[in-house]
């Protein structure tokens, strides 16, 4: 008898479908180019691979997943405050059965939704965005990373990045683990400006958003007058299908 996990592991879970491209950063003379995907992944293209570069530039598409979504107006988002004991329980209840090469945005979205659906807990998302200089310096494989963030009764913020940490951690511990330089991140910025090139003397940018925000492009949409004020269950279900084994805990 095989458990569903064994069967699932024997199946190639990462289909070779084309990932959608968020942006392309052309390198200077002799430098690699960067392709940034909506998933957060980064691909380095050698400076001489012009055809490959043009192909990726042609795939850049505007994010239109929510263009027909009817947003409710929720002017102020206040995260639920939970006790330290509850914080531990919330973390322990996160679905651990992640698929190979699952994306952080999908995992974070499902974890946040599952806790909201279970207990009505409103959480936030911590979005960490890296600069091109940082990505190139460390051959970093992502341009952004996101994880759910919960607030304790004492007002502390706890990031719950179940894939990389075995416990809830402070934002600083989370950020310092992922930003090897441990430099502070820029917090007062518009995503539109980060997306346009950012201050390349910095290593990282960070935003804290309501739990409904899925990828950094949602932040840009808010800045353009389209905030996310509710769950898109279709998006949650798609995230679950991509990131977690079917039938695993919810």
């Amino acid at each position: 008898m095989k458990s569903f996990l064994v069967v699932a592991l024997l199946v190639l879970t990462n289909a070779a479908s084309a990932e959608s491209v968020h942006s392309v950063v052309r390198g200077n003379v002799g430098e690699d180019h960067l392709v940034k995907f909506h998933s957060g992944a980064v691909k380095f293209i050698a400076h001489h691979e012009k055809e490959k570069l043009l192909n990726y530039e042609a795939r850049i598409e505007a994010q239109d997943e929510d263009k027909n979504f009817n947003f409710l107006i929720e002017e102020n988002f206040e995260p639920t405050r939970v006790s330290d004991a509850q914080i531990k329980t919330i973390f322990q209840n996160f679905n651990p059965y992640m698929k190979r090469k699952s994306e952080c945005s999908d995992r974070a979205h499902v974890w946040a939704w599952d806790e909201f659906n279970r207990n009505g807990t409103k959480s936030e998302k911590a979005f960490l965005m890296l600069t091109d200089t940082y990505i190139k310096r460390h051959r970093y494989k992502w341009w952004f990373h996101v994880a759910p963030m919960f607030t304790t009764t004492s007002g502390q913020k706890k990031v719950m990045d179940y894939q990389f940490f075995d416990r809830p951690v402070s934002f600083t511990e989370w950020k310092d683990s992922l930003v090897f330089s441990k430099r502070e991140c820029v917090t007062d910025f518009r995503f539109i400006d980060y997306n346009a090139g950012a201050d390349q003397t910095q290593d990282c940018y960070v935003k804290f958003e309501p739990m409904y925000y899925y990828v950094p492009a949602d932040i840009g949409a808010r800045e353009n007058g389209m905030p996310r004020t509710n769950w898109n269950l279709s998006q949650v279900n798609s995230s679950r299908a991509r990131a977690f084994f079917k039938g695993s805990a919810q």
């Binding site: 008898m1 996990l5 059965y97 190979r100 460390h138 970093y140 494989k141 894939q163 990389f164 940490f165």
Partner: protein
């Protein structure tokens, strides 16, 4: 009792709960997270049905290297607090002080500690799958320890292997210029190949 007594002083087989039917699972989380820009992660799954054991380990790390890996006697994963020489990394020796000796090297033959020795999986996005029988594993575990220097231990006759709360530790990444010369390694292996990269603690799950 097999193995080096002083090595096993903190890690005692008496603490082990012998394996029973079911599935044991762990997420494998990064150790030495700053070792390269692709932060590694994975999972390990042990499924036991009567005498039949299946072991699966998968790792996403983007590093085309061989990955030494084992089930260890200890029950805690190393953290940067275990970096006793403060060189910024938890190296092989520092990690072994935390996770204890291996009780099952996850190599090409898990029925025997010595058979298949040093034949570990390799590559980017490693997938490892082996089958074995519990009776063979335990019979091998009760043999006399012929090599006390290999960081692999034996049990007293009668105590069977256990998986609950036991550590899975995986090693190996590509060399980086910023790795300090102080990194310890397994025997004469290159330090970057001995560097622990992911760790998890098996728990029995209700599936």
């Amino acid at each position: 009792m097999g193995g080096n007594d002083s090595q096993n002083e903190e890690f005692n087989e008496r603490a082990i709960t012998e394996a029973s039917n079911g599935t044991y699972y762990t997420v494998l989380r990064p150790v030495n997270i700053q070792a390269n820009g692709f932060i590694p992660y994975g999972m390990a799954n042990f499924s036991l049905q009567d005498d039949y054991l299946q072991v699966n380990v998968s790792l996403d790390d983007d590093q085309a290297v061989t990955h030494r890996q084992a089930l260890h006697l200890g029950s805690r994963c190393p953290t940067l607090d275990d970096d006793t020489n403060r060189d910024g990394f938890v190296d092989y020796d520092e990690a072994l002080k935390v996770v204890g000796p291996a009780i099952m090297p996850l190599d090409s033959d898990i029925n025997s500690q010595i058979s298949g020795a040093e034949q570990f999986p390799s590559g980017r996005g490693m997938t490892y799958y082996k089958q074995a029988t519990l009776s063979k594993i335990n019979a091998d575990l009760w043999l006399k320890d012929e090599d006390s220097s290999d960081d692999v231990t034996k049990f007293s006759n009668g105590k069977g292997i256990g998986f609950e709360n036991r550590v899975i530790l995986v090693h190996g990444t590509t060399h980086q210029n910023f790795f300090p010369s102080s990194l310890a390694s397994y025997k004469n292996e290159a330090a970057h190949l001995s560097l622990p990269i992911v760790c998890g603690i098996l728990q029995k799950i209700g599936l």
